[in-house]
Amino acid sequence: MALLLDVVSWILLSAGGAFVFIGGVGILRMPTIYTRMHAASVTDTMGTLLILLGIMLQAGLTLATVKLAAIVVFLLLTGPTASYALANAALLSGVRPELTTREPD
């Protein structure tokens, strides 16, 4: 049972690390601000959930799991709010999303 928990936790941590890395590449390589926010949201939701779930499986039923659950709740509440505020501020300041990527023929 402990081995199974270790394996599942390792898979979750590795998958979370992969999602976080994908988001990091996306925030560097994407062309505009809105596409970069799209890439950053991958790390805010999937990477955070997978990594913290993997740590929770390692912690077991202790106080640390409660704190990790609180961190998950706070990040899932504040992440979309910050993203909305950022997109709202960028749009109001005149940064327009590019709706086409190339000239139509």
Binding site: G23, A59, A64, K67
Partner: protein, 96 residues
């Protein structure tokens, strides 16, 4: 097993810092700093178990809240203040 997640988070933080230095507008920098703060929370949580010190979880919990407040404060400043994101020459403009 925590080393994989730690290395991935550290690489992502480095990429976010590069974007914060490169970013053409101030909103790119705010986005990169917000992501850097979120990754700091994750890194604190992972390091708490990597080194066997669960006290770091309190720091992670506090940092999550402070990061959110800080990003909202900077965005409110950029939105309502007299602030031009991408014009270095406009800094010489006459102040009211």
């Amino acid at each position: 097993m925590f080393y994989v997640a730690t290395v991935a988070i550290l690489i992502t933080m480095a990429l976010a810092v590069i974007r914060a230095l490169l970013g053409p507008t101030v909103y790119d920098r705010v986005l990169a700093v917000n992501m850097f703060g979120t990754k700091t929370v994750l890194l604190l949580a992972v390091i708490a178990f990597l080194y066997g010190r669960p006290d770091f979880l309190d720091l992670a919990l506090t940092y999550a809240l402070i990061n959110f407040i800080g990003v909202l404060a900077v965005l409110s400043f950029c939105q309502s203040g007299d602030h031009e994101p991408e014009a270095k020459d406009q800094s010489k403009k006459a102040q009211p």
